[in-house]
Amino acid sequence: MLIWKTPGKTYTMKRIALFLILLSIFSCQDDDSNYTEINQPLDFIVPANFPDTAQDIGRNFPTQKGFELGRKLFYDGRLSRDGTVSCSFCHEQSSAFTHHGHDFSHGIDNLAGIRNAPAVQNMAFQSEYFYDGASNSLEMLSIVPIHNPVEMDETLENIVSKLKQNTAYVKLFAQAFENREVSSGNMLKALGQFMTMMISANSRYDKFVRNEPGGTLNSQELQGRDLFQSNCATCHKTDLFTDHSFRNNGLPPNPNLNDLGRETVTGFARDRYKFKVPSLRNVALTAPYMHDGRFGSLQSVLNFYSNGVQNTENLDPLLQQHPTLGIPLNQTEKEAIIAFLKTLTDEEFIQNPLFYFRT
């Protein structure tokens, strides 16, 4: 809590990375002694072009050890019933922590879910999680995939009893938390700390916006940006590229799934077929697209918006303001938008060794 910097242009994610690396070097030395434990708060910095955090991260401020523990847990199959499915199973770093190439992520016993794994990035800036907003807490959200019978099919209580038998975990929990306990609360907290630090804000687009070296967009990308701003940015708002709302974008419902979307959580018919507007950061890496992963390419997504939108219950009014439903776009315009979307790819994020668990 000591280190909480206000948004500042002078700080970059590189500096955070350097800081983390330095810390991890120090922590290696610490491991040599059983009697000293240095657990530093991490340097969490809001990127200059981002809105404020939506989660109160001061409640569970990331520390070096909490982050390390969260990372270890994120990559650990013990969180599933039979030890085979870790968080990283469906959230792979190289695909901006999505499940590349899978429309429905397959989980335990090779069972398939009904939704496409969403990206895990910039989590502290989101107010609600999952396509239907089943959780509004970064600390609590891991409960959902852990208990889902087709994802990890485990319980918090069981995981804790497994972790208590592992000396490495017992030590890490003791270092990471003041009460030193291996508990489900601390486990969720550690995962929350890891996810808090997973910030993607160093794409070419970000550098362009922040006027940093390497931040140039070519004429097609700039044209795409203009088109994006006039056609897409009402929902894919701010530099997070989402307004955090739930909307029906007119996808024809899949009768085999009958996924009611937001209504599943709220129970309100007015929320039928509404799904969370996803961030478009790293979107070139997160195929397939939509809540059910029905589209394999960005071209297909834009084709859908130009001539595939269907008038189902609660269709968003923004998609009904032209003579035909959806967003009129010609092929040149679509290509420009796709070129722009590709500038949102953040290589530093997907290659950052801090988010990859190495043992």
């Binding site: 089943a134 959780s135 509004n136 937001r262 959580v265 709220t266 129970g267």
Partner: protein, 273 residues
């Protein structure tokens, strides 16, 4: 270097050990200032006793056989005649009443002595507490999970877990399962608080523990000011009724404002029942 650090660590640990021992001796309340209060929740249905496995018929024309009736009560406040309030420490102010587990009491400790005329408490878990995350409420979360009071497809608590089977008058006579899970979600906050007058003053003294005897009426959940028919809330397959979201939860929150009444208060030392 290592042994030096080791020595420091040992010294610190030893000091902490000593300090923690002496703290225990100091933590007792000052004599004559604090007492205890006990609340007893007597579950019933429209004035009759509630027994799991027994049936009752409500004004919606449905006969319910209850198998589970658990609920969370929280954030207790005791109010004196002059309006001054004692708010029980929030960290310790969450309790589960469970018919199946036979848990019916809420025991409050270290309550300032005085004469109390009203009590206030919440049904469920307030959003503020919930958003503090599981860590702030570890022991309560564990208790809630053990009592079927946590959601897993979403994150949060069930405030009331009311389950059993039912048959509808004029229907096919088949008995079907029902599940009513009251709670908040990311769209609606269904936590409510009730304030109840005590028919007799609850006298809290160091040697006197009042026992506040409340009656809870499970019938009001579906058959209170708002009427909720289970037969109109069937799942798509028509095999069971399930109420876990939407307007129903708002109606139930409203209904449960009248779920509790204080029947009587026992003053004097010790417990009763």
């Amino acid at each position: 270097m290592k042994s030096y650090l080791k020595n420091i660590a040992v010294c610190i640990a030893f000091t902490l050990f000593i300090t923690s021992c002496s703290n225990d001796d100091d933590s007792k309340p000052v004599e004559g200032t604090f007492g205890d209060v006990e609340l007893f929740f007597d579950n019933g249905v429209s004035g009759d006793a509630l027994t799991l496995g027994n049936s009752y018929t409500n004004s919606n024309g449905e006969t319910l056989k209850l198998q589970r009736f658990n609920y969370i009560v929280s954030n207790f406040v005791l109010i004196k005649e002059d309006g001054s309030q004692f708010t029980y420490p929030k960290d310790d102010s969450y309790f589960i009443i469970s018919e199946e587990a036979g848990t019916f009491t809420v025991h409050l400790e270290n309550v300032p002595v005085g004469d109390y005329k009203k009590i206030k408490f919440g049904i469920g878990v307030d959003q503020q507490r919930y958003l503090q995350g599981e860590t702030a409420q570890q022991s309560f979360w564990d208790l809630a999970a053990a009592n079927n009071m946590t959601w897993t497809w979403s994150t949060g608590y069930r405030f009331i877990n009311f389950e059993g089977t039912f048959t509808a008058a004029g229907g096919d006579g088949v008995s079907r399962n029902f599940m009513v899970h009251q709670g908040s979600n990311t769209a609606t906050d269904n936590y409510i608080e009730v304030t109840l007058n005590l028919p007799t003053t609850a006298r809290v003294r160091t040697e006197e523990m009042p026992n506040i005897h409340l009656k809870s009426d499970a019938n009001v959940i579906l058959d209170g000011d708002n009427k909720i028919a289970l037969r109109l809330n069937m799942n798509p397959a028509g095999t069971a009724a399930s109420i876990m979201g939407g307007e129903n939860l708002i109606s139930i929150a409203e209904n449960t404002k009248k779920m509790f009444t204080v029947d009587h208060v026992h003053n004097g030392a010790g417990t009763h029942h």
